[in-house]
Amino acid sequence: MVETPQTGIVPQRRHGASIGQPLTRRDGLLKVTGQARYAADNHPPRMLHAALAVSSIARGRVTFLDVAAAKAHAGVIEVMTPANRPPLALDPDAKLDPFMFRLDLLQNDRVRYAGQPIAVVIAETLEAATEAAALLSPRYEAEPPRIGLDGDDSFIPPAIGPGYPTEVRHGDVEAGLATAEHRIEAIYETPTQYHNAMEPHAIVATWDGDRLSVDTPSQGLAWAQARIAGLFGIPPENILIRSPFLGGGFGSKGMISGPQVLGILAARLVERTVKLVLRREQMYGPVGHRGPTRQTLRLGADRQGALTAIHHHVRTATSSFDDFFEPSVQVSHTLYASPAIATTAEAVRLDTGTPLFMRAPGEASGSIALESAIDEMAHRVGIDPLEFRLRNYAEVEPISGKPFSSKALRECYAQGAARFGWEGRPLAPRQMRDENGLLVGWGLGTATFPAIMFQGQARAVVRRDGTGLVELGAQDMGQGAWTALAQIAADSLGLELDQLEFRSGSSDLPDAGIAGGSSHTATAGMAIHGAGVDVIAKLAELAMADERSPLFGANNAGVLARGGRLTRRDDESRGESYADILARAGFAEIEGRGSAGGDPFAQKPYAMYAHGAVFAEVKVDPELGQIRTTRLVGAFAAGTIINPRLVRSQYYGGMIWGVSFALHERAVLDPRSGRVMNANLAEYHVPVNADVPSLEAILVEEADPYVNALGIKGVGEIGVTGTAGAIASAVWHATGVRIRRFPITVEQLIGAGPA
């Protein structure tokens, strides 16, 4: 292989580049015409259908399953229970690393949460499998379930979230509170929430000896491949996972779930292709959720409104058998300057499925509490909540003291406020009414999310005909990876999009890292960028070393890659096409590889975050307490914007999620049975279209020279943060009633006194 020359050959961004263009989704036509093939759309020949039987108790033991009745049902092929489940190479309860979550794979008769799989019926038709699953008529030895944040004694977890410290102390919080002119202490509660991706977890699995082929939605193909390989004791390369489209993931498809593995086990048991699709109500147990939180905020501020102390404490819950702790307190480390900041956590173990990463894990639940508390403190001090935030603006990351790699939050506040018309907002609540007599309130929330990168790889090729190919196992959950990553790919090769073949969404392609943590465009994009640069470097090397090339000897002057041609940087009249370079060299194609990951030399000295400000207007019926969000303006700064249309859509989606968090979403658990009582989309509310107000997302310009060479931060989760708190504060501003238990409901508003 040729070495990368020392000359500057990085493709230049320019007018006409694909990056920055508001292209529509390249897969849009497939999706709106129903041709995009999701996992459950696959029907290989001789495919069987599997149906899960799940536990109706939350804690105890299965004492009886009427397997005979189920097997006697017409069309039933097999019933898989702990008695006949094929062996695994790894105990599903083994936890070899913190990201290896324990799975329920029929390893015994224990029941540890309601909705846990206890058997799988495999039949010729879905109807037969479903009916036979009902015929199993399980009997149990039930124990009283532990439900709710007071359901058990609490303990201090060893770490929270993906390994953050449980306790962080900076400065003297108690002294900061003692000397404060203004103090508030308030408790905020957020409920158990379920991801509820539109597409349920589904799998179509086929074994061929010790080789496995599956269609299943995955936010992390390589992780899923490695997990399955470990469980079945086969090499990862024996496993092919196709996941070209996901109907949403939100974290619940980040790691392969128990039910997906049960589909693979079922296929092994019957030695046929098996399809298993979760029913909606089965998504409220074994596939993760956001743990409930009770957060205590203690803030102190001096006479001028400068914060003197922040203490953010969270009590959350995990399952009885595994660890994931919603890291709500992280936001308090970065958002506001304060000489003293402490964050602490405790948790209880409950008889539920294990909580998991769910869109903005920690940041969503934490920011609704912190932003509400900040709003309360601003009112206590008697200044406008925007002015209060500016007085406590973090010029450097408060605890670490690191400068931010970039932070255009001031511009977000300014542009958002101007667009919303924030100026002139009355300080006191319950001052504004609309023409119909409804109470009107305005609220503000600061949004933030860390700029994360995982490890990723990509492969790029320029072919003899001058066209390009870029491939990697990236994942499109609906966010637009097929489009945004192809835009980066085209620019990395100096080609137009229509000269590029882009392959993705399959585990036999280079590992592109996970589509999670708002990291995917940065990680996969930088891997692609690296692969493209590698190809162009090799092409340049070929040309510059060839006496017959017009680029011969360009060396230190360097070349530009543009429109399928290399040209001399110092003389654009001298150049030639990729096709000519390859033809003369006699190469069928030239290949490059790229890899990406966070750069420790940049991460050590700099704090890296995206920021934003969300302004909300709500209207509240003064007698009936009905609340509707009527306006939302968000302004976000997240580095380089690859595709403004898709990015705006991500912000909109996040802001709508924030509406949902503030006003709609909650799982209601039955304290007697431990079951989710509203395990369906009729009763587990998310906003309908008519609840979504006029939305605006302003893309605030921000250039970040440190996060990565393209300056990409993430946009997938930040929209949730800030929004929920803005709405909560707007409800207070409309009514004068501060609701601290989310979602805010009619009952709470009316019950709290005169709404």
């Binding site: 023409e435 119909n436 409804l438 209207k619 019926d621 007698e623 009936l624 307490g625 009905q626 509707r628 006003l663 709609h664 009729a682 009763e683 509310h685 906003p687 309908v688 279209n689 008519a690 609840d691 409901t745 009619v746 009952e747 009316i750 019950g751």
Partner: protein
């Protein structure tokens, strides 16, 4: 399924309203709802109908309120008295005491809107308390 309305019901046609209080604007059960119909003659309520949703296992007709409304002028004071009469014997079962107060309030609102006249057009979001009080010509 078909619903037949008696022809005599047309006497309510110009003063009828249904309101549904809900946590989201569509595809949600009522927290409480109320349907009110008034037959107004010479600025006096000749006859009234009032029924609630979301307060019992079935729609609940408030006959005491209907009786209280007969023969009175359509004003807020009368509507409040009717709502009190409607809920006088209501008792909570569990954590739903607030429904009684909400039912009172929505009854007053539904009666007031019915008295103002059936809107010419169904509002964009039917039955939403957010729909502006109609200023246009009454229905019919």
């Amino acid at each position: 399924m078909a619903v037949r309305l008696p022809g005599a019901a047309t006497r309510f046609a110009t003063h009828a309203r249904y309101l549904k209080l809900r946590e989201r604007t569509s595809y949600a059960f009522a927290v409480v709802s109320a349907a009110a119909c008034l037959h107004i003659e010479d600025e006096v309520i000749a006859e009234a109908r009032l029924a609630f949703g979301g307060v019992a296992a079935k729609p609940w007709r408030a006959r005491a309120a209907e009786a209280a409304l007969a023969g009175v002028r359509p004003n807020v004071e009368g509507f409040r008295r009717a709502a009190e009469a409607a809920l006088a014997e209501a008792r909570p079962s569990g954590d739903n005491a607030l429904k009684i107060e909400l039912a009172r309030r929505i009854a007053v609102r539904a009666l007031a809107l019915a008295a103002a006249g059936t809107p010419d057009h169904v509002p964009a979001l039917p039955a939403s308390p957010f729909a502006p009080i109609p200023g246009g010509a009454p229905h019919g």
